[in-house]
Amino acid sequence: MLFAEAVTTAPSYLTTLLWLIPLPPILAFALIALFFNRYRQTSSTIAVLSMIASTVMAYIVFFNVWQLKDLGKAPISSSIAWLPTGDTTLSIGVSVDPLSATFLFMVPLACTLIFIYSTGYMASDPLYSRFFAYLSLFAGSMLGLVVSNNLLTLFVFWELMGFCSYSLIGFFYRKPSAYKAAVKAFMTTRVGDMLLILGMVYLYAQTGTLNFFDIMHSEEVLELLGTTPAVGIFGTTLGLSAAALIGLLVFGGVVGKSAQWPLHVWLPDAMEGPTPVSAMIHAAAMVSAGIFLLLRFFPIIEVSGEHSATFTTIGLIGAFTAFMGATIAVAQYDIKRVMAFSTISQLGFMVAAVGIGAYVAAGFHLLTHAFFKALLFLASGSVIHGVEHGHHHVHAHGHGHGHAHGEPEAEAEHADAETHHEEFDPQDMRNMGGLRHKMPVTFWTFLIGGLALAGFPFITAGFWSKDEIFADAYHHGIEGGDPLGTLVFITLVVTATLTAFYTMRQIKLVFFGKARTEAAEHASESTPAMTFPLIVLAVFALFIGFINVPPDFPIFGSIVGSGAFYFKNLIGQYLIEKPEPLAFNIVPVLFSLGVALGGLALGWLVYSGRNLEAGVTDPVERLGGLFRFLNRRWMWDELYRAIFINPMQWLADNYTRIVDKGVIDAILEGGWKAGAAIAGAFAAFDRVVITGISDAIGRGFRVVGDWGRELQSGQVQNYLLSGLIMALAILVFFLFLFR
């Protein structure tokens, strides 16, 4: 039996391997960037080979450690002193514990498949080599993040990923929307990262170490963190424990990276990048990194207390994000946008699970979601690819065709081609339909992924992981009487229904019915390089769920036997108190069955028959204003523009007008008029006082303005002097005043 024998020792070469795991892709990045950027075939080969090397190493590690009994208590790790700083030494290192072992299983596999897929998808791109360079760096950073044993290197890799995601989202940098999306993603995540840095600094100040296991495995440290009240500047207490504050700050970083409300706005725009990037960022790597970090910090969050502000915040934001994402996804037409919002929603699921303390469930859903969401993204990419090919096909061969039932425009062929090109959007689901026969492999894999996303019972991975979350939420909320848990449970049930509905909507719109455009008519199946990863991922999307079947689940529990709750037993070791397995409860399972099947059935019914024909309005548009609200994504972008961007601009634009024209001129004018009225009598007074005051005001503004302008002189010495004066002031403050 696979899980029966528990081994207790691991070979010693594992630590060396751990150091080496992130290396090949980073090396590949350097090689491609420095030497092979002119050789397309070579660079993609290097990238794929490096990723395979990493995968092999990661799997050697994984298969050596996955049966270790005490991996959670005694993770395999290796550190080197990086920088001796006075009394303390900043050490960095690598380690593998259950959490990272799971990721070592998932990340390299997903990355390898995405790399292979990219060789097909990006085949005709002029910047092929650059793409693989960035992709390699990205994969290397993700692996580095997974094997890091301390927050410092984790943060370094975290930021490296941020950079790569910036470069990849803006990969088609000549498209204004692409580079705007890149900047948006970068700036938005920066907000969260700022909080994360604060959390990191605070953690270091409190514990003197950034090593995870020194903190998370030591009860004293955790207790200390849990009991120390967080102290703000000038001694204000925040009513929180240090652990709660650290948890909140770290969660800030997670909100940025994992696209939770209110910082979720970057993720939909990030769809401007090539589709493999979307799969990479929004499924396998970057957004998972956020949840990964949250799970890493779960012990700290846990000691902040059952009903602490941290848990409440996490749970509420997660649940809200899940609900919001699902509602928006219902009203999107762009195939990738639907996926993007679905991702936001599913990440909300995980965050909400963490918020109710369901650590294992969150991790499990993260794992399954990575597989089926990567599958869905890649399959959508395949669909887009196919439809685009169909479009080109129509253009290349079907000109006569097109003219047969369009109006002949012989005099303006070029214009025709261009306008047509601009109008046609290969990502719009309204332009698809009936692809089931044209692209069978894509269809079946997409279907599997979609069903997994919807949580189709028993045979898909999504069902098991969602069920786990439901069970936990039900246990905490309805049974335990915790209002937060109740809220989360209800929200998630609604969300899951919506999820099943929009999944079915998407499947029907894309694959069923008849082709609604010529492009869809002429679409063709993608190359094996693209379909092979789909098939592999589909297998995982089906079966990965069986690693965490509850042992007392009817029928299935006995099928998997001793493998039941394997995942829970593995990953739960990270916590000091191993989570108690919940007793099997039929109610959440029924809910889970009901919402999945109900949502899917609703979708099937709504999108059938006439509704799939060309030119028919989408049924959800009948919601009217609500639809527009959802389609515009709850108007968050508009809201942010209105709250943050416009006021700033308005302030800047109007400052001169109002202060200059409004205030100063009004004073001047008033003074002048008053002076004119009593001019004869008070001429001298007028000249001396009124004019003097107004001049003084004007001059005052001018002086202030001049002085302010001086500050930005562009001269390095000047900056140095001002900086020095500030530093001096701070020094004086701390040495002499702030005793």
């Binding site: 001796p84 930005q712 002189s713 562009g714 001269q715 390095v716 010495q717 140095l720 002097l721 020095l724």
Partner: protein, 111 residues
């Protein structure tokens, strides 16, 4: 403790520290107040020298058995060399394009 007021054949630690502080301040003044980029660089070199005096003096008085002070001083040496090479190359490049290395005139990056 009186012993150490006159360590090292009568030279106490604080003598070195005072000289180093003075050298550092002079260098800082040079960086901030000179009207020539090369002269600024000279100021930087003076500051680095002051730092090195400090490092080696502390090494000698506090931890002569440990290599830390020397190692840091050596890194300062190397980085000073790299800094001079890059800095002067930049200055010459700027001089070629601007015909001036007055830092007050090099404000094209200002918005």
């Amino acid at each position: 403790m009186d012993l150490f007021a006159n360590a090292l054949n009568g030279i106490p630690l604080w003598w070195f520290l005072v000289v180093s502080a003075a050298l550092f301040c002079i260098g800082l003044y040079g960086v901030m107040a000179r009207k020539n980029a090369i002269a600024m660089l000279m100021g930087v070199e003076l500051m680095l020298n002051a730092v090195n005096i400090n490092l080696i003096a502390f090494w000698r008085f506090i931890a002569p058995n440990s290599p830390s002070g020397l190692a840091f001083a050596a890194f300062v040496f190397v980085i000073a060399a790299a800094e001079a090479a890059i800095g002067l190359a930049l200055i010459i490049s700027v001089y070629r394009s601007n015909q001036s290395i007055d830092p007050e005139k090099l404000d094209q990056m200002k918005l």
